[in-house]
Symmetry: C2
Subunit: 345 residues, 2 copies
Amino acid sequence: MQVNAYAAPKAGAPLAPTTIERREVGANDVLIDIEYAGICHSDIHTVNGDWGPQPFPVVPGHEIVGTVTEVGEAVTHHKVGDRVGVGCMVNACRECASCLRGDEQYCLNGMIGTYAATDRDGTTTQGGYSTRVVVDANFVLSIPEGLDPAAAAPLLCAGITTYTPLKHWDAGPGTKVAVVGLGGLGHMGVKIAHALGAEVTVLSQSLKKQEDGLRLGADHYYATSDPDTFEALAGSFDLIINTVSAGIDVNAYLGLLAVDGTLVNVGAPPEPLPVNAMSLIGARRSFAGSMIGGIAITQEMLDFCAEHGITSEVEVIAADQINEAYERVLASDVRYRFVIDTSTI
Amino acid sequence: MQVNAYAAPKAGAPLAPTTIERREVGANDVLIDIEYAGICHSDIHTVNGDWGPQPFPVVPGHEIVGTVTEVGEAVTHHKVGDRVGVGCMVNACRECASCLRGDEQYCLNGMIGTYAATDRDGTTTQGGYSTRVVVDANFVLSIPEGLDPAAAAPLLCAGITTYTPLKHWDAGPGTKVAVVGLGGLGHMGVKIAHALGAEVTVLSQSLKKQEDGLRLGADHYYATSDPDTFEALAGSFDLIINTVSAGIDVNAYLGLLAVDGTLVNVGAPPEPLPVNAMSLIGARRSFAGSMIGGIAITQEMLDFCAEHGITSEVEVIAADQINEAYERVLASDVRYRFVIDTSTI
């Protein structure tokens, strides 16, 4: 099946319209007419070649929302007409300890990314900047009614990336959570942490987005460019979610943690972060990392967001604005997520 | 009260006999006739000035075992004739969240070290390389019957330093624990992890002490100088206790952790450890630190050790061998802890 798509033909080249082949709908597959696809910073890193060689042409997009138009004969929990979503992975081995535990994102045999990955049948996956996609039903999420489909798309990556560590490290009533960076990930982290009942502080480079941060659910907002911030907040937080993928002074942030607190990186800075062991030992602190979430917790997150009326703040664009949107993401000029209306592809 | 002691008169100078003043026994105090004092690497760092300026003369020693010879009028849970121990701290504020939770070692107002610290009454604390010590009863542990007093002394630092993280991070039946370094701390970690029911692997620079390691309770023993070790054991461990206070390739050790595994440093290398965020993110791993333990868990550890017949492997020395023992500790020429017979002071 030939479908329309926007692809990067080679590393660093602008994305352009093309057609790609999707596989026939197998017994366990779902065919989705894509309505919206979010633009994630990872898309840009991938097509720019920042993360190594890629199987070009690459169709990015792993924040996909659409409607089911066909299901394979063995599919029971999705049906034609359902609104569904696909996130960062479309397959995994389903047999290893991680998969059996519901942590398919940590599949010990390698989870299969939604694009630029080699699927278990040997084909190369292609993402959501396209009009239709065929995905194994086990990796297709249900989008609850009441969630705006465009604004729900970023939940599939930005939402789950922040929801999982917040839940894993027990954010909730009585806990103090800081979110570093108020971008695509950070603004979701603030909304979700607030809905979980935590006391939420935004740590942003400047106070430029303070009004937004407080509106989105933050209780406090501090500028990290002000050294007083690190004195005023020393030993304060049970959990810090760092969404910034540039390097940070990790010891300064560890110093903001209370005893037994955890700093979780969800972004991956290119350079190693030098950690002073005493920053950890002196208060039994942890420096951790977290990557998206398994299928079950992703569905849980979508249901939680529907219950709490949470979606992403989005700017919907047409496909011919993708390259300009990439420039604006790189310039941090987006509040807070671009979402492509894929009917324009 | 004047008591005999061995002190370092200034940074880097050999320790020599002297006398020091101990305070009168207050209402909440216990006077202890010291029998044994372990030699910890920290003692050497402190008197060498590796950890900054110190209030010389310094009497080191925070692995103290002795017998109660006098108690203050308000003391109820220790009595004359009891065998008792004192570890790394002799006071804390007892009012902050950490103290109230039993984590006096993380006292938010600063725990008071057993030596070279300023106590809450303004005096400078002096440690266990001496014949008698006066300590607040709340910081005095009971040494259970059946524990050899000389071999029990190192439990007060080396024992609790490894016991606390093993318990905190749930080492037990079904978990795989690695202990990095088979020295004073490491050999206690192996014994305790084994007694807790974990599957224990020693990661040592060479196989020199392999026979010892297996005898002490390790199930497996690998040389970290062999690069194959890091391939063979990739993704294996739920918990790694790193007792080495020299720098390590922290990303290589993080790679040995299973999904959700934790690497805990109990030693503090002088240089920062460069952590690749991807080492953490790719499997939700944590890099943490831990420092000794609170009073309640220290007593729990002593009782656990008595129940399981665990003490340190020690070489008992006379006081005039302290300086030579320091040289041998620095040369890793001790199996596994020097303990001073303080009757020789």
